[in-house]
């Protein structure tokens, strides 16, 4: 005599898929299809500048890419960019979060200040940054900025100023988000744990390593991942802050340039996709760290 309630497990699963469908549909249309298209295109010689039918060229685009010095330069710049900005964001973000860890007078205000760079819409603050760092010649501070730029470019080569400003902007905004994320983790650490650790070890560094870091691990992992992806995928910040006059192309800008200026869809797609496997690998490693814990068991 087996009976199944109408709202049983099978019904739950059907409902689950129904509820998942809007999100999956969005992702399918906006991400999955375009990625599929990019994968296919990266294997062809598609170009709006070319007459005739599109030919399948296999891995030729990738082979050409690997043989191209510009690609390697872009890849190197991208890696440096991601590494430097991520390190900067993490260091500053962690510093901010630790500053805010204990209650003190004015904490709420400092917290808001630290939250601002992320909350301030980057789509427009990047414009502000660009004009601040590369002001129109008529403004009062233009000569000063001009000199600074000249000095930096003079020391590190043309384009260094622009590249530095991109990194500076990225770190400025990213450290704010990381700080907030880590603060969320620190808030969850019970005060007794700090006190307990205080009894066990008088070294602040040991306490930090033994108590704070392990509990922050999921937040740190999430922060690192979001920081890396935003840096690797960065196109707009680099483009905007350099007004398209790119001396140090990153992979994003290089692909954009190939599409917009050169109409080379195939190589551009191949180029964009080179980032994906690397990021996936990073993500798979990090999932272990920030996956939600298993449900507490009930008796």
């Amino acid at each position: 005599m087996v009976s199944v309630k109408p709202a049983g497990r099978a019904g739950d699963i059907r409902l689950a898929y129904a509820l998942l469908s809007p999100a999956l549909l969005l992702l399918a249309v906006v991400i999955a299809y375009p990625v599929g298209w990019e994968v296919w295109t990266s294997l062809t010689d598609l170009s709006p500048l070319k007459d005739g039918s599109t030919g399948f060229v296999g891995l030729a685009n990738y082979r050409r890419l690997l043989a191209d010095a510009t690609f390697w330069q872009a890849a190197l710049v991208t890696v440096v960019y991601a590494a430097v900005t991520s390190a900067g964001k993490l260091a500053l973000g962690l510093g901010f979060a630790l500053l805010l860890a204990r209650p003190f007078r004015g904490r709420a205000l400092v917290f808001l200040a630290i939250f601002l760079p992320w909350a301030y819409p980057a789509g427009v603050s990047v414009i502000g940054w660009y004009w601040t760092l590369n002001p129109p010649t008529i403004t009062a501070y233009a000569p000063f900025m001009g000199q600074l730029k000249y000095a930096v470019d003079g020391t590190f080569g043309i384009g260094a100023w622009a590249f530095a400003s991109v990194m500076l902007f990225n770190i400025w905004r990213g450290s704010s988000f990381i700080a907030v994320l880590l603060l969320a983790g620190i808030n969850a650490i019970p005060q007794e744990l700090f006190e307990c650790a205080l009894l066990e070890s008088r070294s602040a560094w040991r306490r930090f390593r033994l108590v704070t870091v392990p509990l922050l691990k999921p937040f740190l992992a999430l922060g690192v991942f979001l920081s890396l992806t935003s840096a690797f995928a960065d196109l707009s910040n680099v483009w905007m802050l350099t007004a398209g006059r790119i001396v140090f192309p990153v992979i994003g800008t290089h692909a954009y340039w190939l599409v917009i200026k050169a109409g080379q869809y195939g190589p551009a797609s191949a180029l964009s996709l080179t980032l994906v496997p690397f990021l996936l690998a990073v993500l798979l490693v990090l999932f272990r760290l920030f996956d939600p814990p298993q449900e507490r068991s009930t008796a």
Partner: protein, 290 residues
């Protein structure tokens, strides 16, 4: 604990001050610029404003193209800023709402109903972040074109939600998963249907996490520049971000900075008001559950 020595206190305070200046200065700088008269912009002290004016903001809404001092009418453009503002509000509010609805539904499915392999579903959705959206313009343009959404705000309403969705699904489903199942069960026994239990109990309980997801979404879409510029072409259809991108540096510096602030101030205000909730929500989602 021992009382801290004076130098530790001074050190702490100075660090606070440094951190605050570092974070706020660029924003302060933009705000000051936007309040300047053209004269002060050229001759004044860059860090302060002596003679604040709302002229630059006014000018944004001024469609007439009034002649300005040293720039002739010929070079003068006027901007449909009022339209941009409305478009921006529609796009931002719509995207945040759409993101939250889709994420909450998906998160409930993954965190509470748990279909087979729900961990991998969640990871799969989160993995969308490895795809740099800004690199997908051409196929995205095809999609938008096929749907007949060229130069239409709906294109942004389609694309924006996917930018924040993976993160929102992640934190919301983590929160739902950590929620003791007994709370929902208690409601079911008390006489609620599953839907009632969801809307009357689970959703209100999740407020901090919803706030966190909402703020994250707002912060993410407000940061977009490329998508708005690529998919919205006619001036009247643009958002503030896309519109400001068309400004000319040399001619419109002050008006543009004013525009930046006009977009930023409401976004920042909303975020600041909910900032504590944002942190609390992140904590709840990642660790506590309840």
């Amino acid at each position: 604990m021992n009382p801290k020595p004076w130098w530790a206190k001074v050190g702490h305070r100075s660090l606070m001050l440094l951190a605050t200046i570092y974070c706020v200065f660029p924003i302060y700088f933009m705000l000051v610029q936007s309040l300047k008269t053209p004269k002060e912009d050229v001759f004044g002290n860059p860090f302060i404003v002596m003679d604040p004016t709302l002229e630059n903001f006014q000018e944004l809404f001024d469609r007439e193209g009034e002649v300005r001092g040293f720039v002739g009418t010929a070079l003068r453009r006027s901007y449909p800023f009022a339209d941009w503002l409305v478009n921006t509000i529609v796009v931002f509010a719509g995207s945040v709402a759409a993101t939250l609805v889709a994420s909450v539904a998906a998160a409930y499915a993954l965190g509470r109903l748990r279909p087979p392999g729900f961990r991998w579903w969640r990871r799969g959705i989160f993995a969308a972040y490895v795809i740099p959206q800004t690199l997908l313009f051409i196929p995205l343009y095809q999609v938008v074109h096929t749907l007949g959404l060229d130069d239409n705000l709906l294109a942004l309403l389609l694309i924006y939600p996917t930018m924040a969705l993976p993160f929102c699904v992640w934190i919301l489903s983590a929160y739902f998963q950590l929620l003791p199942r007994e709370i929902e069960e208690a409601a079911l026994i008390e006489g609620a249907s599953r839907a009632t239990a969801f809307f009357r109990i689970i959703l209100p309980m999740s407020r901090p996490v919803l706030v966190a997801a909402g703020i994250f979404t707002l912060g993410t879409i407000a940061s977009d520049f490329m998508i708005a510029s690529v998919f919205l072409l006619t001036p009247n259809n643009q958002t503030i971000t896309a519109g400001l991108g068309t400004f000319d540096v040399a001619l419109d510096e002050l008006a543009a900075v004013a525009g930046v602030n006009l977009l930023a101030i409401p976004v920042v205000t909303i975020s600041a008001l909910l900032a504590r909730g944002f942190v609390r929500g992140l904590t709840a989602a990642m660790i506590e559950g309840a």
